[in-house]
């Protein structure tokens, strides 16, 4: 379904009055132009999607519109009136509300308490507030009970509470920052129904995403942002996901496509019956078994939250309670510590480099030592070898093109792409035999993305086994020799990337693989970057 299934029921874009008009918005951070000459018009009663790669400047733009940051240049008009927003409170006063990707709810309070928190003056905290919540919930079909405890709600319901919160505060423009990232497909559908409800009531919805299929199915207008500036605003009818993707990344979609197979029949990583129980019922990982051979990249595809992070952390020995065999090059590491597994030859590019990959307030050379404290050249006989560690950091900086003034720079001061290149360089040091790469190009710029892909290909050529986790299906298809799909903690299907389409992967990822997917005739069949469909 690369053509939008939902025919836009909104009034033609040219007629409805403007809710938001951004002109020439610019924002600089030291050394970085986050936004430059951004122009966007959002009409009432429409869903306006803003798409762009991670780091393209979407979040900064929305922070500006929500008053979190002040623009350096440009004007913001809301309903025809020019405003300057000094704080989120200002933005709310002007009818702009934002739903963040990470919910800001107090679990141990009820929905009512969460909603009125900070807005006590509007309808009090008692019966009036409750009636208002019930009214909003009914009007927009949110299905929220004011007296439920937030901790008892699922993710989708929590998100609806967040939406209700901004509606309660009188928002007429609602910004949703990557709202589908945390949702399972059914919840995505429900969310989209809710958004259409909001639209029907004349609200303007700004929907930030990089999932193109979702954008095409729900948006009335799509604005593409690249490198901090608005590239074009397009009508989703008559545009393909591939065209959008090309607008997002530039003239040419970088292709991760891989060279001739280097797969051998020597098993380097053997995983058998790996399980990880959870406190509440369904196990996080359920009897996972696979092998990765020398020179092979195994890709794991799945909707986020289906056990990818747990799988990686179990292989790394970071999860207590994981059972099953982890055998690396014939050596059983099942009961070995994380350090032992790293010393045994596992390089690890973690999913969240700020939380798991770096010491942000430490210099680069100390970050080079991190994870290699027990091995040369970082350490010798229990002592940190500062000189050798610094020299090797410089080597990584040179070989991996880490843009930094020197090895004493704090990791925090580098851009995401350069931080990630440093991590890749570090994890490739010490001759690993297995590279575990979790979302290796997430949140990095296109240049760094290409470089990291090249390094993964090089690792494969050099005979490493690579476990690649990614939410980017093109990356998976382009880099992997084999793709396994993970769904609710189980491996549910194995695919050959040279024949699979993103649509087939998408069906498997959402558990719809039993239905035979036949591409419709208007769908290009040459591996277009339409991400997995969610319907």
């Amino acid at each position: 379904m690369s053509t939008p299934a939902q025919a836009p029921a909104a009034p033609p874009a040219g007629e409805a009055p403007l809710a938001v008009r951004l002109r020439g918005i610019g924002k600089r951070f030291p050394g970085v132009i986050a936004n430059d000459d951004v122009n966007i018009d959002v009409r009432r009663g429409t869903i306006h999607a803003i798409v762009g790669e991670n780091g393209a400047g979407k979040s900064t733009l929305m922070k500006i519109l929500y008053g979190v940051q002040a623009p350096d240049s440009g004007t913001i008009e809301l309903s025809g009136e020019q405003v300057s927003l000094a704080s989120p409170a200002d933005a709310i006063k002007h009818g702009v509300g934002m739903v963040f990707q990470h919910f800001m709810l107090a679990d141990n309070l009820t929905v009512l308490e969460n909603v009125v928190l900070g807005a006590e003056k509007l309808h009090g905290i008692g019966g009036d507030a409750k009636a208002e919540i019930a009214r909003i919930s009914d009007a927009y079909g949110l299905g929220i009970e004011p007296d439920h405890l937030v901790e008892s709600l699922g993710v989708g319901a929590r998100q609806r509470v967040e939406i209700l919160k901004v509606l309660y505060r009188g928002a007429r423009v609602i910004i949703l920052d990557e709202p589908t990232a945390v949702l399972v497909p059914q919840e995505v559908d429900e969310l989209f129904d809710n958004l259409r409800g909001l639209k029907a009531e004349g609200l303007a919805v700004i929907f930030i995403s990089h999932k193109l299929d979702e954008v095409l199915s729900v948006a009335d207008e799509v604005t593409v942002i690249r490198r901090g500036t608005t590239v074009r605003t397009v009508d989703p009818v008559g545009v393909t996901a591939r065209q959008l993707a090309e607008l997002m990344v530039g003239s040419e979609l970088p292709s991760p496509s891989t060279e001739a197979s280097t797969v051998t029949d020597k098993v380097l990583l053997h995983i058998a019956h790996l399980s990880l129980p959870s406190d509440e019922g369904r196990p996080l990982l359920d009897d996972i078994s696979f092998d990765i051979h020398k020179g092979e990249v195994l890709g794991i595809a799945g909707v986020e939250g289906n056990g990818q992070a747990e799988l990686v952390e179990s292989i790394m020995g970071m999860r207590k309670g994981a059972t099953g065999d982890v055998v690396l090059n014939g050596r059983d590491l099942s009961t070995t510590s994380t350090r032992g597994r790293r010393e045994g030859g596992i390089g690890y590019i973690p999913e969240d480099r700020h939380r798991h990959g770096l010491l942000l307030d430490a210099p680069l050379w100390e970050n080079r030592v991190l994870g290699h404290q027990t091995r040369e050249p970082s350490a010798r006989r229990g002592l940190i070898d500062k000189g050798a560690a610094r020299a090797d950091t410089q080597r990584i900086i040179d070989e991996y093109d880490v843009r930094t003034p020197g090895v004493d720079t704090l990791a925090r001061a580098l851009s995401g792409g350069n931080q990630q290149k440093l991590i890749v360089g570090r994890e490739m040091a010490g001759a690993p035999i297995l590279l575990v790469a979790a979302h290796p190009t997430r949140g990095v710029d296109v240049g760094a993305q290409g470089a990291i892909w090249a390094h993964i290909k090089k690792a494969r050529r050099e005979g490493l086994a690579v476990l690649l986790i990614s939410a980017d299906l093109d990356e998976l298809i382009g880099l992997s020799d084999r793709i396994e799909v993970i769904l609710r903690g189980r491996l549910v299907g194995s695919f050959d990337p040279s024949h699979v389409t993103p649509q087939q992967l998408g069906s498997a990822m959402t558990g719809a693989s039993d239905e035979t997917v036949t591409p419709t005739t208007d769908t290009p069949t040459t591996g277009t970057p339409t991400s997995g469909e969610t319907a």
Binding site: R227, G340, E343, L360, G371, T374, I384, A413
Partner: protein, 377 residues
Amino acid sequence: MSPRVTRLVLGLAAPLLALVAAFAITSLVLIIAGDPVGGVWSTILQVPAERNMANIINNATVLYLSGLAVAVGFRMNLFNIGVDGQYRVAAFTAAVVAGEAWLPGYLNTALAIVCAMAVGAAWAGIAGVLRATRGVSEVISTIMLNFIATGLVAYLLRKVAVREAGSNEIGTKQIPEGSRIPSIPFSDNPAISLYGFLVIAAFFGFLFWFVLNKTRFGFDLRATGQSTTAAVASGINVTRMTIGALLISGAIAGLVGLPILFGDAYAYGSTFQSGLGFAGIAIALLGRNHPIGIAVGALLFAFLDEQSNPLQIIIGVSPDIVAITQGVIVLTVVISYEVVRRYGVRLEQRHVASALEKHDPAGPASPTDSTTKGVSA
């Protein structure tokens, strides 16, 4: 300026800023209370006499060990508030062991020191195990252990105490002369001298620096303090590090009372100096958990204590005014470090940006891209 020099300058700027602010606030308190601001500061800030100087250094030795003990925990984001209790049980243990004199001469001293460190470590280790295995906040458990320590020592003192002749005080047996640590002469007057334990304290300061900055263990400890999650991913056993850090912190805390015990009091009695553990928290904060910084902080606190003694006699102001200064320092230090840290991060980012622009004016974009601009991350 190179980033390292910048960092050093910023590192010095923060405590100076904090001190200036603390002095200003103290002056404000004096003005509001109607006390002579000038008189107070001229009394406090005069050059100390030789005798006072010796007192300052001796007190600083004790405070230094206390600051070191707290700093070990701080480096790992552990808040060991229990140094007070740890040094009491340890000093008491050392006094009993040394008083019994099972071994001759300095062997007896060494045994007592080792016992003190072991007991201090064990006392802190209780909090470490609770934290590592049950998730009990070390702040709560160490505070509670302080009270238990006070009670336990008072109870045990009754058991082992001997009444000093001609006094109502009770204390442990006197340490035999051969096991006392000789003092270091400081002036022509033989009554004015420094604790011999000063050398041991300095040695532990060096050891602290060496272990934290040069060894793998120290790296693990600092890494855990900076980011537990990154530490886990890098293969550090955080549970073990938590217990280890508190054991070391407690072991150093066990030394806190010993300069007094072996250089001055020679017995643990009901009047043994208390409250040294809490001063250590302020000193560690002021000294940025760095052994030199802690030394400066300890000297400053000892200086303020010593110089405020004559305030009451000379100008009729309560010497407790310096307690206000010391308390305010703790607050201003925390604030100014955060302010300076943020400024430092901004400075660093700007430095990186300008350095990269010089090297690479085209920016990181691909040449085919016509809209080449900086890329945010």
